[in-house]
């Protein structure tokens, strides 16, 4: 499903370094992500994934390195980057005391969509999700799986070029996870680049390419098939464990 593109990559990272005092969270990361690609970003807790995502989203400044996201420079054009990316965090990040519709309206509003655009897209998304009948329900009353799907739609409300998903399926049942990945495929088919972190190794198999971070460095970066072949494993789980062991980190 990976679309090979000859055009400029949408995410371009060269020698990204991020230090917190003496601690090196990101140690010379370099990678490209192509348009419409589903890019898996794996690593144990504390390996530096979240820091890297925060830098790509313009939430933190890198210590050094050359980084472009959606064609813009993270040092000087963070505002333009923010307009072109969507973000969904590991914690459920919508307002529990607002209704489904109000959440859409709010997030559409902060991305500067006009009233009629918001109305149109809300209607469209509710129909896609088959949630029109619960549009006025307060979010607190909706099951987690549904909320997670809503959060993905909210992250896409402004039609971003890239969407960052930080452990989007944490705590979600297998069926909803499956449906969630269908949504991700649909988005990728439309040309949206998906940058996703996960702890589920079966999900890693769904990605076009996967990078595995260990102790702040990228230890491996390839398609799941190639990785399994290189590391002589049958599953991504084995690949991951082998990599983590090789670095002396038995996490």
């Amino acid at each position: 499903m990976m679309k090979q593109s000859v055009s400029e990559p949408v995410i371009k990272v060269r020698n990204l370094v991020k230090k917190f005092g003496d601690f090196v969270a990101n140690d010379h990361l370099s990678f490209d992500v192509q348009k419409g690609e589903i890019f898996g970003f794996l690593g144990a807790n504390g390996a530096g994934k979240t820091t890297a995502i925060k830098i790509l989203c313009g939430l933190q400044k890198p210590t050094s390195g050359e980084i472009q996201v959606a064609g813009y420079d993270v040092y000087t054009q963070a505002e333009l980057i923010k307009k072109n990316i969507g973000y969904m965090s590991q914690r459920f990040s919508m307002y529990e005391d607002l209704s489904v519709r109000e959440n859409f309206q709010f997030y559409g509003g902060i991305y500067g969509l006009s009233g009629s655009e918001i109305k149109e897209r809300t209607k469209e998304m509710l129909e896609d999700l088959q949630m029109t009948h619960i549009s006025n329900k307060i979010l607190r009353e909706i099951p987690l799986g549904w909320k997670q799907k809503l959060a993905f739609s909210v992250a896409m409300v402004h039609h971003p070029k890239i969407v960052f998903l930080d452990e989007p399926t944490g705590g979600v049942d297998p069926i909803t996870r499956r449906q969630f990945w269908e949504m991700i495929y649909t988005a990728a088919d439309k040309g949206v680049t998906v940058f996703v972190t996960t702890h589920y190794m079966d999900e890693a198999e769904y990605c076009g390419r996967v990078s595995i971070m260990v102790d702040g460095r990228i230890e491996a970066l390839d398609s799941p098939e190639a990785l399994k072949k290189n590391y002589n494993s049958t599953t991504m789980n084995d690949v991951f464990i082998k990599l983590a062991r090789s670095s002396g980190n038995t996490n």
Partner: protein, 365 residues
């Protein structure tokens, strides 16, 4: 921006607890402070032990009882009953006239009135004995034909700005201050901390909204609500308790707006250093509420504090705001007299905004 403010109002209106704190508390507090907590004396129960029972003692007794401050609870006939009368607990003071009071007054002065007061509550005891002395003194001046009894010096006291010594005049400025502080600072700090705790703050920061917009959007609803609250308290104070309005209403409202902005900037600062609602709440309670109540001169006069506390009270924004409200409401003073306090509040506002921005930037790096 409009959507942001709307969303914030929805948060407030949908949370019963927040609504109660916002609107129930101000009204309850004003009524409580106005009615229940008072340092005036009304109808204090006293007993009289009159060994003389002559026209003069009866006249003085009548004067005392008709003053409105005292109410006769018991007529005692013997000194041994005094102890018993106090032990029943209702009586605050016993007035004892010595035998042959009128006779002694003219022929062998001085005639003695003994005041025995229940000093387990020292302030009340003091007030009661002062009132009694004042009323007796008045009586003597009015009636005594004999020049010898006229005091050489006559002190005439005028209670300026609050002639009836109404306690409510003191409590209303304090209550406004506390409530504005509570609502503005505590509620904003909690609501910002809540966004951090729930993870929605991250999403907001990833959006094209600038941090300044996020903060302004969160703060504006509380500015509006705090202002409405200040108005409610002032209207209650004026209508229910007859609090006077000597000065300019416009100036008072402008000053309230300044204080609200100051409290909000404090709230924002608190939220930048706390990561969840509990921390924000505790910090607000200990950093804002207690010092505001204890050190602002609201309940305990600053002049009576030990020097270190007096110095410390200067960094309490509420101290300055209470001075401002009292000056405007009770004394009718204009800006020319309170510019110093105003400048201090403006300075504190700038300080907290500056600190918050600095904190915010550090977090992003």
């Amino acid at each position: 921006m409009k959507g942001f403010i709307l969303k914030e109002f929805l948060h407030i209106f949908r949370d019963l607890r927040t609504m109660l704190i916002l609107f129930g508390m101000p009204v309850a507090q004003v009524l409580l402070f106005g009615y229940a907590i008072t340092n005036e004396i009304n109808n204090a129960q006293i007993a009289i032990l009159d060994h003389s029972k002559d026209p003069v003692t009866q006249e003085i007794t009548y004067k005392l009882l008709s003053s409105g401050y005292f109410q006769l609870n018991d007529q005692l006939s013997d000194a041994s009953e005094i102890e018993q009368a106090f032990k029943k607990g209702k009586i605050k003071q016993v007035v004892v006239f010595e035998p042959n009071f009128a006779q002694k007054m003219t022929k062998d002065p001085p005639a003695v009135i003994q005041l025995i007061t229940d000093a387990s509550d020292p302030n009340t005891a003091n007030l009661l004995s002062n009132y009694t002395q004042a009323i007796t003194g008045d009586y003597l001046r009015q009636t005594s034909g004999s020049k010898r009894n006229l005091p050489v010096i006559n002190i005439e006291t005028t209670m300026q700005y609050n002639p009836e010594l109404r306690g409510v005049f003191m409590f209303v400025p304090g209550t406004i201050t506390i409530l504005l502080m509570l609502i503005s600072a505590m509620m904003t700090s909690i609501s910002i901390a809540r966004e951090k705790e729930l993870g929605t703050m991250e999403v907001l920061l990833v959006s094209p909204l600038k941090p300044l917009h996020i903060i302004v959007g969160k703060v504006i609803p509380y500015v509006i609500l705090s202002f409405i609250n200040a108005l409610i308290i002032l209207i209650l104070a004026a209508t229910v308790f007859g609090m006077p309005f000597q000065g300019s209403l416009v100036l008072l409202l402008l000053q309230s707006a300044l204080f609200i902005v100051m409290a909000l900037s404090m709230g924002i600062f608190i939220s930048t250093v706390s990561n969840n609602q509990q921390t924000a709440m505790l910090l607000s309670m200990f950093v804002l509420m207690l010092p505001t109540i204890l050190l602002s001169g609201f309940i305990f006069p600053i002049e009576n504090m030990p020097l270190p506390l007096q110095i410390l009270s200067n960094i309490m924004p509420s101290k300055w705001f209470i001075i401002i409200i009292k000056s405007i409401m009770l004394k009718g003073l204009g800006i020319a007299y309170i510019w110093k306090e105003t400048l201090i509040l403006i300075g504190m506002t700038l300080f907290f905004i500056g600190m918050s921005v600095k904190k915010f930037k550090i977090r992003l790096d």
